[in-house]
Subunit: 179 residues, 2 copies
């Protein structure tokens, strides 16, 4: 609420010009510089049902349902172990951010764990980044542990990582890197 | 995940040019034309604690905590009744969307109900709109009932409305109008 207060009430980014004497510490202090919120992801039990419902609600076309790649390509790891988990996805792109529907299938995953524990709802907020390995280290420096990671090879290819940032942010963060 | 698939996988808006014979029905079919996702709102138990934690995590300044106005100005209604509910807020603005922290105080509200039922987490996604009365009718046409509404008088002033869109979208929607 209170959109009228945004300009006065929101946080401004700290001065990026003052980097003297900071080095790595300064870099670590701002892991989200140059990044952007690109997706809000909602876990559901039946992606086909919600894809139709979203399309009707928002007056959009029903999108293609996409199934994530198999273990050999996706290289999915959940809680440090390989998993055969996959996910069925539907995307609804608005002007500035995309709503993503996720239905977990197959083995254990953060998507299935969330659905079993919390039911349907917002699973994470995704930031697009560059330099995944450095970003993972920066997230871990903040106490946000890596809980799932994987890749995709279609289109440009890319890599994703989910972090348990609930203690710090009361929501899960995903980092996405397009190759 | 799968940011690389967005272009292929996302929904495109239907042809806006084809309005023949549609009239009101066509208008109702697209309540989100010309709107934008402006906020992702997260309900928390202690907004001061999370405001500091967000600032540290994202490398931003700690924002001012804003308390919503009293009942005489806010005219808050929850489930059809007036309420003395207020909310403490902190805003973190990213390039394209704002993360909003909400701590309910006072009387009954959707914020408090969510916290009591679900714990901390994403409470709603906010769309900025024009013409609230028409938009409320359009939401209700889709079966999304109005559960809370209110106003703010500071800055430009404005009006907000929350809808139970869980059955349709698995997430709550807020409409915001700046006057």
């Amino acid at each position: 609420m209170l959109a009228g207060l945004l300009i006065a009430g929101c946080a401004s980014t700290a001065d990026k010009g003052d980097t003297k004497g900071a080095g790595t510490k300064r870099s670590n202090a701002r892991p989200f510089d140059g990044t952007k919120i690109v997706q809000i992801a909602i876990v559901v039990r039946d992606v086909e049902k919600y894809a139709k419902s979203y399309a009707e609600f928002f007056g959009m076309d029903v999108p293609q349902i996409i199934v994530s790649e198999t273990e050999d390509k996706a290289k999915t790891r959940y809680l440090g172990r390989t998993t055969k988990a996959r996910v069925k996805q539907a995307f609804f792109r608005f002007d500035n951010v995309t709503l993503e529907l996720l239905e977990p299938v197959g083995g254990p995953s953060t998507w299935k764990e969330f659905l079993d524990s919390n039911g349907e709802g917002v699973h994470h907020i995704a930031f697009e980044i560059k330099g995944m390995d450095d970003r993972i280290a920066q997230m871990q420096d903040r106490g946000a542990s890596l809980i799932q990671e994987g890749r995709w090879t279609s289109y440009t290819g890319g890599r994703y990582a989910y972090f348990d940032s609930n203690a710090q942010l009361a929501v899960m963060i995903e980092l996405l890197e397009n190759f």
